[in-house]
Symmetry: C2
Subunit: 351 residues, 2 copies
Amino acid sequence: MGALQGDGSPRRNRQVVLARRPKGLVDVGCFEEVETDVPPLGPGEALLEVRYLGIDPTIRGWLDERGNYMAGVAIGEVVRSNGVGVIVETNNPDEYPLGRAVMALTGWQTHRVLAPNEFPPVTVLPEGTRMLDVLNVLGHIGVTAYLGVNEVAKPGPGETFVVSAAASGVGSIAGQIAKLRGARVIGIAGTPEKCAWVVDDLGFDACIDYKREDVAARLKELAPQGVDVYFDNVGGELLDVVLRRLALRARVVLCGDISTYNLEGPPPPLHNVRHLMGKRARMEGFNTLDHWDRYGEAAAQLARWVAEGRIRHREHVITGLGRAPEALVRCFTGDHLGKLVVEVTPGPEAR
Amino acid sequence: MGALQGDGSPRRNRQVVLARRPKGLVDVGCFEEVETDVPPLGPGEALLEVRYLGIDPTIRGWLDERGNYMAGVAIGEVVRSNGVGVIVETNNPDEYPLGRAVMALTGWQTHRVLAPNEFPPVTVLPEGTRMLDVLNVLGHIGVTAYLGVNEVAKPGPGETFVVSAAASGVGSIAGQIAKLRGARVIGIAGTPEKCAWVVDDLGFDACIDYKREDVAARLKELAPQGVDVYFDNVGGELLDVVLRRLALRARVVLCGDISTYNLEGPPPPLHNVRHLMGKRARMEGFNTLDHWDRYGEAAAQLARWVAEGRIRHREHVITGLGRAPEALVRCFTGDHLGKLVVEVTPGPEAR
C-alpha cells in the first residue's frame, strides 16, 4: 500500500522546516515551508493526517544546536512538535487502526509516517476524545501539571502554592490541581487579563501581575508565612525573588525556564539559592518524559475532573500550518490565554 | 541544694562571651572571658561541669545578629556551642544522674545549669562512651553525616559521590558512609595533607585539592559520567562548579555553606542552577535538627561501625577554654584534620 490520493498520485506533505537558528527571541524568519511527496508506507507503518499542533515553549530549546532534554533539530529538518491527527492509511491496524485519532511527535507538517513502537510512544486516543483536549489538559500539558503537583510539589491543605506562567497550559492546570488538594493558590502572570482569568474563572486565590506589580512585596503581603510550594515555569529573576520567600521545608518544582529560552547569553545568576539551606527546602527539576508509566493514570483522572467541571481549560487556536512560527513567537510574547494550538487541517473529529 | 564548693563558697563559672560582632572573618578580639558565680540550682535542675566543646562552623552564624537556623547570640552572652561534661550536682537524678556524662548546648563555659526537658534535648551518654567521640562521630557531626547520606543523598552502588570539606568532621564521615554503601567517593579539600588523609587513611577513591587544582577539569576527569551526589558543606563557587557536572537525577545535599559564613556582603550568585532542570536533579537543604527522632538509631549504627573499624575519625584537640575563639578561627582558616575540639576541664572520663 502506498500513500496515494484518490487519483493515484502521491499525497503531498507540507512541512515547516528550520531554515536558520534563532538568535535571541525566535522570529518567523527562522522557518520556511516546503512540500514533498509522502513516501510509500513500509511494513508496520501508518500515515497520520495531522489536525492540530501543540505550540509548546520547549520547542524553542529544540531549535538550538545543543537542544535541551532532546537533541536539537537540524537545519532543513521539520520542526519537532507535539500534535494530534487521524490515521488515514495503515499497514499496522493493531497498533494504528484506520480512522482513529492519535497523539504523537508529529512535527510541523500535514502528514506524518508512524513507525511501529515509537518512543516517545504514539498514543491512540480513546474513542470520543476531543482532539484539542489532548494537546492541553488530557495530554502532556495536563499530565505535566498533574505529576508535577502530585508527585513532586505535593501541596497540603492550607499550604501556599505559587505558580508562574499561571495562565499557560501547565500553569493554569497545576494551580487548579493544587486548589483541589486544598492549597491556597497564588498565580504569577504578565497581563491583567491573565490574572483576571485565573482568579475569576479558575478559582485561584490571587494573581500577581509581574509586569505591573512588585512581586516581592506582593508575595510578602499574600503569603506572610512564606511560600510552601513554587511551581516554576519561567526561571530567571522571578525564581530568585520567590526563593527569598520560601517557608520551612518548601518545595520548588523546576518545570520550565521559559524566561531564559530566548536569551542569547547565559541566564541571569541566582542570588538566593542559599535560602534552601536555612529553610531546609528542596528544589527539583521535573520532566514528564521520566514518568511515562504514570501517563494513563494521570490522563484518566484529568478526564474525570474535566467531565465533572472541576478543571477548566482553554485553548487559543490559530488556523493554518504556515502560522505555526507566528504561534511559537506568541508563546513568548505572551498575548494569549491558555494553551496555544495551531489547526493544521480543518476537518471533522475522528472517532 | 546550692552550687557550692567544698569550702561552702559558690562555685565559679568561667565563660567566653561575645564582646562584639565579627565583620568578615571572625577574630579572637570578638570575645572576652568573664567569671561569675554558678547560681543555686532550682527544682529539676542539675549542674554540668563542661569537659569538651565541639567547635562547629555553625557557631559563626550564631555570632551574627540575625543568627541562622537558631537565633543570634546577644552581645555579652556566652557563646552558644555544643559540648560534653559531667553532672556534678543534681536536683533531678532521674533525668540527670550524678556522675554521668551528658552532651548539651553547653556554651563556651566551665559550668552549665541544665533545666528539665530542654530542647534541643540534653543527651545522657551510654556508660563507657568516650566523651570526645560524642562531639564527633557519635554525636551530631556523625549523625548529620549519617542522615544526610542515608536519608537525603542515598548514593547507590557504583554511583559517584562528591563531598566538600572532605577532611572535616561531617565530610570525612559522610564520605566513609557513602563508601560503605558502595559509592565511588571523591573528596574536595584545601591542603595536600587533607587529601592524603581522606584517600590513604579513610579509603576515599580520590580527593581534589581545590586550592591547587582546577576542580572543574579534575571532576570531568574523575567523574566522566557526572556527579550523582554532591554532599555540600561549603556552598559558594565550588557548589556552582559542581552543579555543571551533575548526572541525570543527581542529588545535591546542602549541609553547610562554610565558604560564605565569614563574608561581609552577600554570597556570590550561582550561575548553574538551571542544570537542575535539564538533569531532573534535586537540591535540598538539610539540618539534623529536623531529624531528632532518628538520632538514637543513627548514633547506634555509627557506634557499631566505629567498633568494627569501618568508620575512622579524628579529633584535633586544643586545650583551654580561653582558646575556644582561636579554635573557631581555625575552623575557617583550615589547618586541622578532622573535628576541632576544645578541652575545657582536664579530668578523668565520667561513667
